[in-house]
Subunit: 324 residues, 2 copies
């Protein structure tokens, strides 16, 4: 693992990226977040039990929002339940990784996927003597959620950081990446969040609520700068990087995934089509297209289990290669 | 109360409204929803205990979304935590009303406001012998949420119906209103949801995900037809109606609230400004502007308590007037 060199140097980002960060509303409690990251990474970089430090993966999950007004009433959102990121987090933890879970507020949480929509109100009841009890049918799911989730957090293997807007997401991703920089090839980015492609720059945003009195609404959104380049080039150049490509049109999916892999120099791009994404994905690497399917002979299997298995094995090979 | 006359007649809506409903994707389980409504209203229209049937209020809560693509990846959302609607629901129930709670999935639920963001993971722990326990500090809040919520639902005083899109919201509001029609002046609409002003008509929507390759994105959204007119004129003409006006600019707030009241013939419009909405609101009626404030001498007071008290008293007067 690369030695610790203190904070990464201030880096020259493209003008476009720089202007995005300059104009973004400042992240709340940025210092607190950086402190948590530092402690988490330090804890996991020191040997545990059997001797070797943990690898660290940043899993991003859920969709980002784009405010349309500064005092935000309306915003554009990207659909994503966060199921992929939450489930993958469980498998990374099982494989011994420490996970920084950068998730959209309200999206799926690790260990909670088999619970109903509103677990508190649907799983519990209050008996006559005012004790709280779990409905029989949900007992196992509730226990698993509480026990495994707490074990991961309390054991220092899971750090959860919530975001809502594209501004929060990208500022936090930058802080995480720069904190993980010194982990070198032991760092992984698993970028499953659905990140907005378009945004309204903060300075050009209406201050007040857009008025609806006068006919149709015309909006011009500009492209969000592609931060994957900055992540790879500047923030954490040695990290093993996996990004995601979601399309609804299967005809253009693989081509777009290949293009993204090449353009941003990702190690892997996971291509998923909206309608089949829970059954199968195609992993695009430099010279392969690997179809990963869930085990259809098992009712409760998922595609994340074989996917994370593949990623862990490729990451191990990458770590070994980097050490040569 | 008006006598039951069977289902309301098919009514001629404006062309604009008709075209909105015609082009909307069909509501899932529409028949199931109408059945639930029918049973709930019937149950509450028959005398209970002390003899008089319950009044019924439809409380709408949370924001609606506007899909930007048919196979929805991106959508425009309206910010609204649903706190107002959820808290108001509690006070309506306390005042003896039956509540149809039409809420955005994931928004605040009645009796749950004093819980942390993720109650299951933050309030509970699993002890060594694998029993689930509530953390001491959250015991009262959790008990209250589970007990009072269950009591309201089990007692047939609370019917919860979730929505996500503007299409679902307006179709469900129409079904609710037409189901409540025969309640006459005993029906109340408390329209606290943040409803999208603009939408992309379903037929003109991109089928697939909008591609980001080629420069900025220009979008044209058209106005959502004002359904309040249809509600008042066609769906439930005798109902007592309260709508909400939220602005970030206090200078135009009251004027806009007055205009809305007059245009849609609401009985009351609750005017709130984004930054002070938890402290005070102004209720605009035909000839008054009533400032309603929370009791600042009490730390845990809210503005909904005096607001619902005011509404209940005005509604009672309205019922009495209608019976003359």
């Amino acid at each position: 693992m690369a030695s610790r060199n203190g904070p990464a140097p201030a880096t020259p980002l493209d003008a476009e990226i720089e202007s995005f960060f300059d104009s973004a509303p400042p992240l709340k409690d940025s210092a607190g977040i950086i402190k948590k990251l530092k402690e988490f990474i330090e804890f996991n970089s020191t040997p545990h039990g059997k001797g070797s430090p943990r690898r660290v993966v940043c899993v991003t999950s859920g969709g980002t929002t784009v405010p349309l007004e500064q005092r935000c009433v309306r915003f554009i959102d990207n659909f994503s339940s966060g199921n992929r990121g939450a489930t993958s987090t469980e498998y990374f933890i099982k494989a011994g990784y420490a996970v920084i879970f950068l998730y959209r507020r309200g999206s799926f949480q690790p260990y909670c996927q088999s619970l109903p929509e509103d677990p508190l109100l649907e799983c519990f009841e209050c008996s006559d003597d005012s004790t709280i009890q779990v409905h029989q049918q949900h007992t196992e799911a509730v226990k698993r959620a509480i026990r495994d989730h707490h074990a991961a957090v309390a054991g220092g293997q899971l750090l959860k950081l919530p975001f809502t807007t594209i501004f929060e997401y990208l500022q936090m991703l930058q802080s995480i990446a720069m904190s993980m920089r010194d982990l070198g090839s032991h760092a992984v980015f698993y970028l499953a969040a659905a990140v907005s492609d378009f945004y309204v720059p903060w300075e050009s945003m209406a201050e007040h609520k857009i008025q609806s009195a006068s006919g149709p609404l015309d909006m011009r959104l500009v492209q969000v700068p592609k931060m994957l380049s900055a992540l790879k080039k500047e923030w954490a150049p040695m990290a093993f990087c996996i990004s995601f490509k979601l399309e609804t049109d299967s005809k253009i999916l693989l081509e777009k995934a290949e293009m993204a892999r090449e353009k941003y120099r990702m190690h892997m791009v996971v291509a998923n089509e909206l309608s089949t994404r829970k059954e199968e994905v195609t992993v695009v690497t430099g010279n392969e297209r690997i179809l990963v399917c869930r085990d259809k002979t098992q009712a409760d299997s998922d595609v994340e289990e074989p996917l994370i298995e593949l990623i862990v094995s490729r990451h191990s090979a990458y770590v070994n290669d980097s050490n040569l």
